[in-house]
Amino acid sequence: MANTYNLISSVTVGSGGASSMEFTNIPQTYTDLLLKVTGRTNKGDLYNDLSIRFNGSSSDFSTLGFVSTGSGKATYTTTSPYVGSINDTGGSGGSNIFSSNDIYIFNYRGSNFKSVSADSAVERNNTGNDEKGLYSTLWSQNTAITTITLVSVGYTLLQYSTACLYGISNA
């Protein structure tokens, strides 16, 4: 029986934090990739954008976001490579609270543009401070993805932030 859903690699941010979480030399043997992320930054706010870079590039992205705070909702488009929101230190609830992000990358080694579906959740058991988001992202490049970098631009990812990269195969 083929093994179709494999952990490729995982990253956990250590003490002192990190500017990014990165996966390099991604095997070109799967069909799709799935990133599962829990994160928190040092920004003194409620939540911040989680951005992705493919092969070191933050260009040629189109993102459409749809977010709900529970009491409100919003939708927007941007050329920034957003794939979700990530917790910050400014919200209530304490330092144990991290975001939950699922980022699915379709046909990552194909010759077409790269299509991404992402869901994110920032939940603090608080009224008005939380956010659930759906993200649709397209990277208009035909090259295979060999490196993925996750950043929260301008801020540090705090200790215990994690990212797991899974490979999913249809073979």
Binding site: M1, T75, T137
Partner: protein, 168 residues
């Protein structure tokens, strides 16, 4: 380690087709996941939908929410003759559209079947990010899934994969 997530069937088109079908689906799994990254021959009216077991009677309903980049909305529809995967999104003429559909407990013969769908297209006609829940009012086990490109066709390079999830 037990393998709990495996391919059931997969199709990458090398020609234009109006439908893609997964047939004779085994009842050996607990849940199904349909992953699609299709391309349409034209975007207008390419509203993707599925039918289970070739049922074209008015046994389908859906509730969805969506953001288009400028407008947020939520709505529902009942007694439809197809199981739409979307609220208003369409399959684009590039591969910008994608979808992941979870079909839980698909093989039981006691309950109606529900599915949840996440579809996206950040650019192009009717671009949006959407979440949807759908129901097929049948107690039959799902053994056949046919995917349609609205009133149009899927073209070469479109990919469709059905995965099975095992609880054991």
């Amino acid at each position: 380690m037990a393998t709990t997530y495996e391919k059931v069937q997969s199709t990458t088109l090398n020609s234009t087709q109006s439908t893609v079908s997964f047939t004779s689906i085994s009842g050996a799994y607990t849940d199904l996941v349909l992953v699609l990254n299709p391309i349409a021959n034209t975007a207008a009216d390419s509203y993707p939908y599925i039918r289970f077991n070739s049922d074209s009677n008015t046994n389908y309903s859906r509730t969805f929410y969506r953001g288009t980049g400028t407008v947020t909305s939520a709505d529902r529809a009942v007694n439809e003759d197809r199981g739409y995967l979307i609220g208003g999104n369409v399959v684009q003429t590039n591969n910008a559209f994608n979808g992941i559909v979870n079909i839980n407990n698909y093989s039981n013969t006691t309950t109606f079947k529900s599915y949840s769908s996440r579809t996206n297209s950040p650019t192009g006609t009717n671009a949006s990010a959407e979440g949807l829940v759908g129901m097929w009012r049948s107690t039959s086990a799902i053994t056949n899934i046919t995917i349609y490109c609205g009133s149009n066709s899927f073209v070469s390079g479109s990919t469709f994969t059905l995965y099975g999830i095992l609880k054991a």
